[in-house]
Assembly symmetry: C2
Homo-oligomer: 415 residues x 2
């Protein structure tokens, strides 16, 4: 693992490295697991590190708090929801601090507001703007382990805010950015995989992945990490390691792209919950696409991939995909469109799957797209639509072809 | 109920009274009970009042948090314990705020630190020093119900503190002091009783009781209210009403003594867990009492009542009482005393009960003590020891006489 090597090197020069660690809800789920986390922190501290530890709420406690809120109000006010949810992490930090004290290790816990995690934006999806490191630095100098509540902060009105599901990752990365130190995310998986091992059992854990690749994979539904945490890491060039909180094996280093371009393709993401719409025989008109997609946006439909053919004989084809959640609104909008343009043929396919390959190496390795299509075409199913970015190729395929497609592509690119 | 009359009168002059209400853990124990609390608040608000509401943690949640802490650490650090326990009230305030929102009532919740409840002193037993009313006043002006977490505050280091068991009473009274408004404590009893109804079923609820009487009764073990809350009420002359959160009946007004002296005796307290020591034949020596009680204090024994007879023929008797919890230390200390003074006769009685009558009216009504002793002596059991203050008479009696004594005194003074 690249990060560990680097830490050891720096350690020789400076015996008091600071490390930010983050432990998720599963790692904090029981008294015994909290004790296990405490032992891991002490081991790392005894190697000569200053420890800052971010924790999530214990086990399923956030889900339980959400259920309580909905039991009393169908639409709980978001400020009060944040007030409620923030208690989950506050329980965790005090419990971990007590566990460390019991093992003879001085520790001090801080809530997000106490440690000055300043946020902006709406409740439930606030963004970290700044962190005041005064208290942390003082406590570290006092030889304490500093424990910080993840997922929470405070806005300009002194209201408690939360960062959204998975926000503790972002708390940890943000702390590592302001403390200029590496960040270790401990979780219930061994690291980042190129393909979800549930889809492709021989999937290999990645040693290194770039921020850009992680962002492409996260937005495609392979979200191991909170997207905002990767954006922050990229912005401040923070080294982030994702590893298991139970097995003591190397994890995955998330870093700038330079280090991560050994292979043309780093990962594959598969997103099941897609619908695909094909509209044939659309009269060519420069405004017609704008009109169609404005109508869909007005109906609250989140359109994902879009493909439009060149007009032939004043007729063109438009295809797009959308989430299955929006099916009612979509059917209504399509009926209205067809009423306005009766000569068109509208086809809605509900069983589509979006499959993407992601890799920074794509830019350096020509022929990735052709290999991808060759691997798929050997399986004899239709590719319904294609879109690309500079490090991603996505295609829409029929749901029944999913397993074959995953195997063929994962085998072909050795994921 | 005196407070209600007063509120209505003031209301005519000033349609926007402020009222502080406090609801305890039992009143907040379930979703339905929280909704009930919300309805009560709205009803009071619709009468033209500005509402500030202090709540405790839901049901037994504080006990559960304490148990969690001790599961991970036999001696949890007090700062971290406060961090943990404070989450209980934070859950309550957000839940109540959501319940009010669901009923269409604007509400905003604040933690102790958010609302500037500044405390001093040790964690777990902090004392409120000051409250910043800025946020409360703003929110009231905005027509919101203000909900404040009881039991908690913040110290000069920005650490979260708690006020000790029952501390939400003190939070509520302190808020009523700084807001110059009445305080209504809602609980699972109908008010303050002159005698515990479990001891004396015909016990009457008091309409009025003075701060001093409440303090005497609280220190004697009849603690319905957090002692510190009464001390604050007395200091700032705040009107405090204690009433049921379920039954809509008048409660008890706690106020300055002037209003509460209709009867010579307001209440009776019985404290079961007492031991009584009699030392006979003690050689008269000006230093001997000091030596005895210094030894007891050094052994950590909390001595309660003390009685010493005048010396007769250079011999005197010393009696005192102590809590049963200290029996081991007491037996050791007494053995040492008798070894030093072999001529003394030491008698330890484990089955003693302390019974006290309290009343500000005692000062104005002569003959209260004689009536008290007459009532007891008619029951033909020995009175083992007597001490008094200006509004209290306490005596130690044999445990087997407890029921008879309670009936006789409660009947005799019409409690």
């Amino acid at each position: 693992m690249v990060l560990r090597k680097k830490s050891r090197q720096t350690q020789r020069e400076n015996p008091m490295n600071t490390i930010v660690q983050k432990y998720g809800g599963t790692s904090m789920g029981t008294i015994d697991r909290i004790k296990n986390v405490a032992r891991r922190i002490i081991a790392k501290k005894e190697q000569g590190n200053r420890m800052v530890v971010v924790v999530s709420a214990m086990g399923k406690s956030t889900d339980q708090l959400v259920a309580m809120a909905y039991a009393i109000n169908d639409r709980p006010p978001k400020r009060e929801m944040d007030m409620l949810l923030a208690t989950g992490e506050q329980v965790s930090i005090s419990m971990l601090s007590m566990a460390l004290a019991e093992m003879g290790q001085k520790a001090i816990s801080f809530t997000g507001p106490q440690v000055g995690i300043k946020t902006k934006g709406v409740h439930g999806r606030a963004r970290i703007m700044d962190i005041d490191t005064t208290k942390i630095t003082q406590a570290l100098a006092d030889d304490s382990v500093v424990i910080v509540a993840g997922f929470q902060g405070v806005n300009e009105n002194d209201d408690i805010t939360t960062l959204g599901r998975g926000g503790s990752d972002t708390s940890a990365v943000a702390l590592s950015c302001v403390l200029h130190c590496p960040c270790e995310i401990y979780t219930d998986v061994d690291g980042i995989y190129g393909v979800d091992p549930r889809l492709y059992p021989p999937a290999k854990k990645l040693d290194v992945v770039s921020y850009d690749e992680m962002l492409e994979m996260a937005s495609l539904g392979a979200g191991v990490m909170h997207t905002r945490s990767i954006e922050l890491g990229r912005k401040y060039n923070a080294d982030i390691t994702v590893a298991s909180s139970i097995h003591d094996v190397p994890g995955t280093l998330i870093t700038a792209s330079a280090a991560a371009t050994q292979k043309p393709i780093t990962g594959m993401a598969v997103y099941n919950d897609e619908m695909m719409v094909s509209i044939k025989n659309v009269p060519y008109d420069v405004n017609i696409s704008a009109r169609l997609f404005s109508a869909l946006a007005a109906a609250g439909i989140n359109v994902d991939m879009i493909s439009q053919t060149s007009p032939i004989a004043d007729r063109m084809h438009i295809s797009f995909s959308a989430s299955h959640d929006d099916i009612d609104a979509l059917e209504k909008a399509l009926a209205e469109f067809q009423a306005a343009y009766p000569q068109t043929a509208v086809d809605l396919r509900e069983d589509a799957v979006k499959m993407s390959v992601v890799g920074s190496g794509m830019k350096a390795h020509p022929g990735v797209a052709s290999k991808f299509f060759r691997l798929l075409s050997a399986q004899h199913f239709p590719i319904l639509m294609v879109t690309t970015s500079d490090i991603r190729i996505s295609c829409m395929i029929p749901a029944e072809a999913r397993e074959r497609a995953v195997m063929a592509v994962a085998d072909g690119f050795e994921l």
